[in-house]
Symmetry: C2
Subunit: 520 residues, 2 copies
């Protein structure tokens, strides 16, 4: 395997530096692309002048051992090529990471920012703190003045409207709604799929997420259903609602705003919120300030940040994030035959779970029980009803007791813990599976559900644990000896300087076994 | 995971520099330890003054991407600490690597030298060339003048003898014997065990071998049975023959010559050769010049290089390589409970095989068939009678035809090849298993036979292959399109700049499928 290619090729503008003005006063870093086909065309021409550097090879090689794991040079250069309005967006965005997120976040991709909290803290609170909540951005952070923000409701609605934040907060017009909702990136646990088999090398790096691209918060805002009602309802034929985000998105050398859609039937259930509060605080900039959507039980990509327009349309959006991304392919589809129409669109998230403590490769001294902690989630309005863990790769299962799980929500995870009996020593495979209220459970192995775009790693989460069971006399004796000599037992790969057995003991035991060879 | 520790801690002699003279004229780099307990004791005292650097962590981290993979600094320093006689042995040994081995060997461990040939060449010849034959040394290369070499036959023999090379070559006294013999290191394919679960971190690094720590040569010499007969046979009670090699070996801060033993019953079968030719040429220095043993069907460790003494004894040798190394533990035994008496001693090698072409992670364009090539071997006088390959991880098996296997030997491998039908595209798991004449076959998975000392990876060899089947119309069309545009399909992880499908085709196909959502 080749080493990772160096990412950094310095950017040099080609031709005249373009200028795309910001669209609105008080909105920094927002270029409106969707309304101006000629602007999109010009941007495409500019991009075609460049030979952007390939993202570094990180799938066929070991991941870089650093934080951030990947930098996103190509995406930075896309922004730089768009001229002064977007040139500094990578720096601005990184500043918000430092300002708004916990200092020990695991930065998976620097730009656009993708990061998850340390494993132990993810399951420390039923509701994730704003600082710890994972971030999966598709572009830079636009800086929008809340007082100058407004939202256009357009397309196939009877009375198109422009609403300010003050309008939305006016409870005489819009009843306020707060929900505890888990948002999950469909890339959660992608690292396991990458380790199994490398997949699509997207222009926007398919970030090698761990188990932390999931978080739970109390979101406050207005049900989108009420807003549509306020606009006189939908016109005949309208079936989907398209969300426009102020960040700039790139796909196949073309430029866009971030656009996705959800079906009206979802909105009708009051399961799509137009939200301005996260855990009782104003929306953090990096999470979509001032206003974003929150689509319950759906893939995180439908919860559109820096929202500025909602358009009623007939069919699902043809914007790239909806049409060309977040597709789930059958395992035999790949670079040689993938299309947009032969993958299905990921909306509802399936049942899944993860062990957050201990972590993979831990070497644990215990007395016959090991405490496991983790999360369990099911989207689409389902909830986890049973969590089962196994210490032998999935043959014998232990059920997590009701008292050891956090409360049920229609749209949120449950945290769980269990003291699992562990007798065996050596390397063991711990795994977890969850059953939701519809009896859905998880695929058995990563291979069972591997897919080209490396989405939705919902297979049983497996970790390798080295078990050192102090309740075994031989083990207890060796631990005692090592303690006396001040030699730690971990890491187990560290050579043990002491003799494992005296020549006398060895000879006696070998003879008792009848020696190394038969007598006759 | 922590990054690999830096290996290089410069060596600084502590106290007076010791001097251990060479034992014999014409023998450079050979210190006799086994005859002089007081010398051993002095060496032990010297070693105890040092705090030798830990070997770098390579099991819990990705392997260093270089050649040599590991340097062996600690082992070099052991030699340096022994004073001027051994100080330069690492350099001398490395010079023989450069002089006697192919320039493109995969150097797994620089000192003591461990290296294997490139995969394609290993199966290029039924008999491995001397330059390509793997090397697994346990110490440095002593430089012995053949004219001044002699071999002592000692211990429980009726007439102890000292024999020169001229004596051994005297066909009036000793009938000459040539055999085609495969020698295999029990570490072959260890990398697979390390990837599955890290194991013992030995002072002498457990080298992360690939599939190439195996080789086949025509060895010429005298059957040890004839030598024992020449010495008047064994005395009452003698059951084993202990071999002494002139290289210096270290274990748990003590110093030794390389010493192992084989049972007399093996020798009686004329299956242990005292050999001075390899493929018709004088023994290469790095392979044991002038004389070594070759124990047929046994683990390579019993084929003792730089042989200078053979001693008849009652029980298997208590020397560290025989008593403390090459033990096979049950999977639940590890650092916390491993002893020398609770692992069994590896002698006969079991049936095993490997796919040498294609190689793991290859991405292959084909027309419905992929050619596989590899080796198959079984030790202990067994031979491979059937090789089977699978393209689906081991559900459907294809038998390699007789004409596609090299000839049978009692003590050598068979090379094989097959054009395996491959219909499916995407990531597939190819694997091979072999049946020997006693119907032994291989464990299914690495986990099935993982063991703490990471020996004998005899489980079915599995490789991940990405299949691109040009006989599929959709694939053929895309390959044609990419060819026209001059875009290579590999590596598959490289982003594809072209659009996968036009908006028109997408819309048409989506509508034909009934759209993304149900109508009702």
């Amino acid at each position: 395997m080749a080493p990772a290619e160096p990412e950094a090729v310095p950017f040099r503008p080609k031709g005249e530096v373009p200028f795309f003005p910001e669209e609105r006063e008080g909105w920094k870093g927002y270029i409106e692309w969707e309304k101006y086909p000629e602007k999109k065309k010009k941007a495409e021409e500019i991009l075609s002048n460049y030979d952007f550097p390939n993202p570094p090879e990180f799938q066929l090689c070991p991941l870089p051992d650093k934080n951030p794991v990947l930098e996103g040079v190509r995406w930075k250069q896309y922004h730089e090529a768009m001229g002064p309005t977007l040139k500094n967006i990578p720096d601005v965005s990184w500043d918000y990471v430092k300002k708004e997120k916990s200092p020990d976040m695991i930065h998976v991709l620097q730009f656009p920012y993708n990061g998850e909290p340390p494993r132990n803290r993810l399951v420390a609170n039923e509701h994730t703190t704003n600082a710890d909540h994972f971030v999966r951005n598709h572009g830079g952070v636009p800086e929008i003045d809340a007082d100058q923000w407004s939202l256009d409701i357009s397309g196939l609605v009877n009375n198109p409207q422009r609403l300010t934040l003050a309008d939305l907060k006016d409870e005489s017009r819009f009843p306020r709604q707060t929900n505890v909702v888990t948002i999950q990136c469909s890339g959660t646990r992608r690292i396991e799929q990458i380790h199994e088999y490398p997949g699509d090398g997207d222009e926007l790096i398919n970030a090698p997420w761990g188990e932390g691209a999931i978080g739970t918060a109390r979101w406050t805002g207005v049900s989108l259903k009420k807003i549509i009602k306020y606009c006189g309802g939908l016109k005949e034929g309208a079936q989907h609602l398209e969300f426009y985000g102020a960040d700039t998105y790139f796909k196949k050398s073309k430029v866009y705003n971030y656009v996705v859609s959800v079906p009206w039937r979802k909105v009708k259930l009051n399961e799509v919120l137009v939200a301005w509060e996260m855990n009782g605080e104003p929306m953090p900039r990096i999470h979509g300030f001032p206003v974003r959507t929150v689509a319950f039980g759906y893939i995180g990509a439908r919860s559109c940040k820096w929202l500025y327009e909602i358009k009623a349309i007939e069919e699902p959006s043809l914007a790239p994030v909806q049409m060309k991304e977040y597709l789930y392919y059958t395992p035999q589809v790949g670079k040689q035959n993938a299309m947009y129409s032969n993958g299905f669109s990921i909306q509802d998230m399936p049942v899944s779970s993860a062990i957050m403590s201990p972590v993979n490769m831990d070497q644990i001294v215990h007395d016959g029980k090991i405490k496991l902690r983790g999360w369990a989630y099911s989207g689409g309005g389902h909830w986890p009803v049973r969590v089962e863990v196994s210490g032998d790769g999935g043959s014998v299962w232990y059920e997590v007791q009701y008292e050891q799980m956090t409360k049920k929500y229609y749209h949120a995870w449950r945290l769980w813990e269990i003291d699992m009996p562990v007798d065996a020593e050596g390397w063991l495979e711990f795994c977890v599976r969850t059953w939701d209220n519809a009896l859905n459970t998880q695929p058995t192995f990563v291979r069972s559900a591997w897919n080209w775009d490396l989405h939705v790693t919902s297979s049983c989460h497996r970790i390798k644990i080295y078990s050192i069971n102090r309740s075994k006399p031989v083990t207890a004796a060796r631990l005692e000896l090592l303690k006396k000599k001040g030699i730690p037992i971990v890491p187990i790969t560290h050579p043990l300087e002491i003799d494992l057995e005296s020549e006398e003991d060895y000879t006696r035991r070998m003879r008792a076994q009848g020696g190394r060879e038969p007598d006759e």
